[in-house]
């Protein structure tokens, strides 16, 4: 209001519109209390994962420690979630396991975005035969149940936690390819894209500097919603024995080993499942909130 507007590019007009857009978005986000709950739970998980070595009650229990004197003890004040078949504190292992679950989401989505987005972009941008071939490949991947294909890839790579993460990533990119493809098809018609092409910008520049930045909001929503599914599939693969191997404190694996002590000892399999549920739910709540925030329909 104070600066005299002597320029043709009058920011006074543009800025308030942007601000009100942002504040309206924030208001929508705040109104969606569940999204805030999701964000807070997620932050808490991140803190627990980062601070695990300092806040876990029995840090030595994350690996192959064996305590014959306290095997399969039910929850008590000393062991809030009880102990497992080797006498290890389950709460401690859950705290360390949070690291692996968050890492799973990170690796899976990283690989998916890096593979899927360029495929969708290139297909949508060039069209024609390139589009047909790339999208047929995407269709082929989409036609297969993610868990089945990821399991098969994980086994072929050799049962290992990091292999299972890579395997899920190699399957999960298809969704990002589809979103990037759809977005590119519509963004390609926008004035600024046509302008950039007319001015002779390279294809690479148009795709990655003009089109890509404008599809960040649908990508972010998908990333948040998919993070939960990535964790679900990751823990399922470890549960089936094609992921983490003992004594790793991985949640799916903890349930798989705790399973052998049912029905008498229920705590080794109950608590890791609840942990998975809480983290996946947080990602889903956050994703829903983000979708509202970006005004996606």
């Amino acid at each position: 209001m104070t600066a005299p507007s002597d320029s043709a590019f009058d920011l006074e007009v543009a800025t308030p519109a942007y601000e009100s857009g942002l504040s309206r978005g924030l208001a929508r986000f705040r109104r969606n209390k569940l999204a805030v709950v999701g964000a807070v739970m997620l932050l808490l998980t991140v803190f627990i994962a980062l601070l695990a070595p300092w806040i876990a009650p029995y840090p030595e229990d994350i690996a192959d420690a064996v305590h014959f004197d306290r095997m399969l003890q039910p929850p008590s004040w000393g062991f809030l979630m009880g102990t497992d078949e080797a006498g290890r504190d389950i709460l401690t292992r859950l705290m360390y396991g949070a690291r692996l679950s968050l890492l799973t989401a990170f690796v899976v989505l990283g690989i998916s975005v890096v593979i899927g987005v360029p495929i969708g972009l290139v297909a949508g941008y060039y069209g024609g035969r390139v589009e047909t071939i790339l999208m047929r490949i995407t269709d082929t991947f989409s036609s297969m149940p993610a868990l089945v294909l990821a399991l098969a890839i994980a086994v072929v790579m050799g049962a290992d936690l990091i292999h299972s993460m890579i395997a899920i990533g190699l399957v999960w990119w298809r969704g990002f390819a589809r979103i990037a493809h759809g977005q590119t098809l519509s963004l390609k018609q926008e004035g600024y894209v046509v302008m950039a092409r007319t001015l002779g910008a390279s294809d690479f520049h148009v795709m990655f500097r003009e089109i890509l930045p404008n599809m960040t909001s649908p990508l972010l929503v998908t990333i948040s919603l998919d993070a939960g599914f990535a964790i679900l599939i990751g823990t399922a693969i470890s549960f089936l024995g094609a992921g983490a191997s003992p004594p790793t404190a991985e949640w799916g694996l903890m349930i798989a080993s705790g399973r052998h002590y049912l029905p008498d000892a229920w705590w080794p399999s109950l608590f890791p499942g609840l942990a998975i549920f809480v983290v996946v739910l947080s990602f889903n709540l956050l994703g829903d909130g983000l979708r509202d925030f970006f005004g996606d329909d």
Binding site: L147, V148, L151, A236, L240, P263, P272, F277
Partner: protein
């Protein structure tokens, strides 16, 4: 014309799937025979089995040979059971299909009413509860829900059997679907037994999909209720239950049909963990066990059958959709 185009598209996807699976299990892992037999087997023995299995020929030849075999029902020998994988899959397929079908019915029977009630009372208390429930439903790890229900209903309350498909001596199969067979034979005891066995696994398999159905039906009902003809009906004073259930639901339920198409891959995927937990004698447990045992023929076979089912069902659902709803069929016509 449209049919042929879509049919060729489907076949193309199937070829893609087969190449992918073949590449995955034959090309990448090195020597499946040595891996399966383990140490302590002579080199000559490995070479002999490789030759017997055709693993010494070039990759394209192996692929063509493999596809030719599959079309004749030969999937290659299983390394865990001395039988052809195709034979094992054929024996176990009805168990999986029965489980998935019952789960699908559960998901639709509960999901559609939930979605409708949610949409009609949009933003009301029921809507919030149903949205919360569906959000929770997709956030649970299914293998854990399976274990917990098995523990609670089976081991603690003793309401249902914990594992397996039947507690009776195996009867001569008619269709292979135990529920259907027992009804055809008018054997109510066998029917009750099969029902008690399938109930919990099907329920677990339906949890996530149920949430998806609710969400989808809610969205399409809300979409439908916003259309001008609904407003007109309201304006002329038509009772709202008639508007909601006779008109809106009928139109919205068309889109709920696509649910079957996307639920199928979802359920066949989750069947791997559910069948594992409940020791269900279906193809998914065979696949899950084969994966642990590095039984590559079995893995390809199961994955291929699962994918073929998914692709074909999706194709049929799309066709059916166009057939039921002329708007789709006519607008897609070139």
């Amino acid at each position: 014309m449209r049919f042929l185009k879509r049919l060729s598209h489907m076949l193309l996807v199937l070829v893609g799937v087969s190449i992918l699976m073949f590449t995955l299990v034959r090309v990448i892992p090195g020597d499946p025979v040595a891996a399966a037999l383990g140490d302590g087997v002579s080199r000559e023995e490995i070479a002999r089995i490789r030759q017997q299995m055709g693993l010494d020929r070039s990759i394209p030849v192996q692929y063509v040979h493999y596809i030719g075999g599959i079309l004749n029902g030969h999937f290659g020998m299983s390394l865990t059971e001395p039988k052809d994988v195709g034979e094992i899959i054929a024996e176990r397929l009805p168990a999986t299909l029965e489980l998935v079908t019952v789960a699908m019915l559960v998901a639709i029977a509960f999901g559609v009413p939930f979605g409708v009630i949610s949409a009609v009372n949009r933003n009301g208390a029921t809507d919030h509860v149903s949205r919360m429930v569906s959000l929770f439903g997709v956030s649970f790890p299914q293998f854990w829900v399976a274990l917990m229900l098995q523990l609670w209903l089976g081991a603690w309350l003793l309401l249902v059997p914990i594992t397996g498909r039947s507690g009776l001596p195996p009867a001569e199969p008619i269709t292979g679907f135990l529920l259907l067979d027992s009804l055809l034979k008018l054997d109510l005891a066998a029917f009750g037994d099969a029902l008690r066995h399938i109930l919990v696994p099907a329920l677990v398999l339906a949890v996530g999909p149920l949430a998806n159905v609710t969400r989808l039906v809610r969205a399409s009902m809300i979409d439908e209720l916003g259309k001008p003809y609904i407003a007109l009906n309201r304006a002329v004073g038509m009772p709202s239950f008639l508007i909601n259930y006779k008109y809106a639901l009928r139109n919205a339920s068309l889109s709920a049909l696509t649910v079957v198409g996307f639920l199928f891959p979802l359920m066949l995927g989750s069947a791997f963990v559910v069948e594992k937990v409940f020791v269900w004698p279906g193809i998914a447990r065979f696949g899950a066990d084969a994966i642990i045992a590095n039984d590559f023929n079995a893995v390809v076979g199961v994955a291929l059958v699962v994918c073929v089912f998914v692709v074909v069902i999706n194709f049929l659902v799309d066709e059916l959709y166009g057939w039921i709803d002329p708007r789709i069929r006519l607008s897609a016509e070139p």
